[in-house]
Subunit: 382 residues, 2 copies
């Protein structure tokens, strides 16, 4: 590997055009020269997280996407409903690179000792533009993976692990003692189960299908409620009464599920109440929405008294709240347990060009629970 190898490389870019079209394409971009404290990483693994899809697809109607260009330089075009263009005025006609996190080999380094020390090492990094063959990043931002960890194993070091740990931290910070999680069979949900088992925290898992229930039980989950079962609300209320969980993290966002969780929390609290209050239980019930797998409108019946809150939960906001020290503590745990607690499983490893195939877009775009795609920007086109 000589220095010239990384002077330019392919990058996936998403552009919202003034005309109301979304365009996703590959561009050859120059790799910026690394500063003294920077390294150049040859990215070999970058997951497609649900949190990447907002930037990648914008508000475009991907069902109506079409493909043009060549096999190794496909161009995807999709219409954006007129009413949604106002959401994206700030990114109009800018080719935005995508990919929150990734991992790879350090193939170039600035003059500083810290940067030079990473040459040839495998590192994970967060910060956007990871769906690129080469990414320059400050050495201080790189998480050095332990010897023997591959880029694929280290690619999801940040988003899912820190989100799962962040849920547990939020629970402690806000004075709750147990957790509820939806879409619980996801990669993230499996991590959360492992953390809660290790830390002895009661976790109520909510899934939609029987196979997901079995999957979670097979990794040791103790409480799993199936929202498709006819007795879902009774079972959930029982689980909430048993665990005392008054905090839920919801990945679905839309539909009735979030409101049902609050309603069942209230029912569980009222069960043990000795005195009637017209305003319901005085115990605060909190639902955090951290994803929107269900894009239908959220429906709330309001049958959970007055002590309740619903809010958006976003990893960067949370990390800001706990500060550098808190963040470092969580990162250390991730690096130590990357092959166990925080191991991710991928449906397929795809190249940048494959990322822009319509059938592949349809697959990762549907965000099926437990299905996750890994982009290798340096994978030879198949």
């Amino acid at each position: 590997m000589t220095e010239t190898d990384y002077r330019e490389g392919l990058q996936l870019q998403s552009t919202v055009k003034q005309s109301g079209q979304l365009e996703i394409a590959l561009a050859t971009v120059e790799t910026p020269a690394p500063g003294p404290d920077d390294v150049v990483i040859r990215i070999e693994a970058a997951p497609i997280n649900p949190s990447d899809l907002g930037l990648l697809f914008g508000p475009a109607d991907m069902q109506a996407a079409t493909s043009s260009g060549s096999a190794d330089r496909p161009v995807i075009t999709a219409p954006i409903p007129a009413g949604l263009m106002k959401m994206v005025t700030a990114r109009l006609d800018q080719a935005m690179p995508v990919g929150n996190e990734g991992a790879g080999i350090v193939v170039g380094a600035g003059s500083s000792e810290a940067a030079q020390a990473l040459l040839g090492k495998t590192v994970a990094v967060i910060g956007g533009a990871m769906y690129s063959q080469y990414r320059v990043a400050p050495a201080a931002m790189c998480l050095l993976l332990t010897e023997g960890t591959t880029p694929a194993e280290g690619a999801s070091c940040f988003v899912n692990p820190l989100t799962a740990l962040g849920m547990v931290e939020t629970m402690r910070l806000e004075g709750h003692s147990a957790l509820v999680h939806t879409a619980a069979a996801s990669n993230l949900g499996q991590m959360l189960n492992k953390i809660c088992l290790a830390d002895d925290i009661a976790l109520v898992n909510i899934v939609r299908r029987e196979e997901q229930e079995e999957l979670l039980r097979s990794i040791g989950a103790k409480i799993v409620c199936n929202s498709s079962a006819p007795d879902f609300k009774e079972k959930l209320t029982d689980a909430l009464a048993d665990t005392g969980a008054t905090l839920a993290f919801d990945a679905t966002g839309g539909g009735k599920l979030g409101g049902q969780i609050l309603s069942c929390m209230e029912a569980a609290l009222v069960r043990s109440a000795s005195e009637y209050s017209g305003y319901g239980s005085t115990t605060h019930k909190q639902l955090y929405v951290y994803g929107r797998l269900d894009r239908s409108p959220t429906e709330l019946l309001g049958d959970y008294g007055m002590a309740w809150g619903i809010g958006g939960w976003l990893l960067p906001h949370f990390l800001q709240k706990i500060g550098l020290e808190g963040g470092a503590r969580l990162r250390t745990r991730v690096a130590d347990e990357i092959k166990t607690t925080f191991a991710s499983h991928y449906t397929a490893e795809i190249s940048l060009a494959e990322t822009l195939e319509l059938k592949t877009i349809a697959a990762y775009g549907k965000q099926a629970t437990g299905e996750k795609y890994l982009i290798n920007p340096n994978k030879n086109p198949s």
Copy 2:
């Protein structure tokens, strides 16, 4: 007035029966003997606030209410939908007195100096059971009304004034600088306008009808948006951009309005954003639901980024949060401005028996904006 007069009196009571019926009736109850520090108040004015209706009607279907008993002792019966009975298990078969706040004349007093000092005075009081002819309360709990204030003028000293002041306090405590209020032409909304004008706080009023818009403008409101107007969302977004309001108090609860406010707040913030973020603006947008005039499900589209929160807001919880000193500061302002800022207007003054007439129930049960009923438990039956 001799002591024997208040030994017993009429009291309005609401009972949820095991059989699934709500019953509202008048009972003759003994007035407890006042302790040394207590006074006996002959209640002459107690408002029917939206917050009283939860205890009064429970989850009963009042459209199906029927009346029996005599003209001076009517009995109202209404069915409770089976699915809602679980909300009221804690009050089953208990005759619950109703009425959060009221005012009247002190007609009896315990031996302490503080209690004796109130004899013959007009006081306001909060604490439930105000739809009663006589109410015993600790002297320390009574707000002594200034000379010349009638019970009717002082009857709504607590709930609406403290709620309106609480909104402004919440705004300051949580770092917002302007407010949005729905059902803004209500008694409470008018108070809030007077407070905001006096304190130089930008207030975005949302109403549903043109007459309400005119009413608010006639008392000096500067910004009024009509949610029935075709350009409502544009006008609201303009108002939010102008004022920078990122906190809203919503009395309606159900329907789309709450979500629309968050969405317009986000649109106003994105307008001035220099950089695109897939997660939307990082400025926190907060909606507090303090009533549920609209009983339909709440519908949220989620088109307001990730920095948002929705929650229940309840006066007692808020007062607990600001502590005794904070509460006393707010109460003093109310007593000083009871005939101006905090003046209430009533549609009619009704007796206890009139409170249980089906046509009157239908009138105050619909909670029409700006319509408010005052019960005088000692009014001679008309």
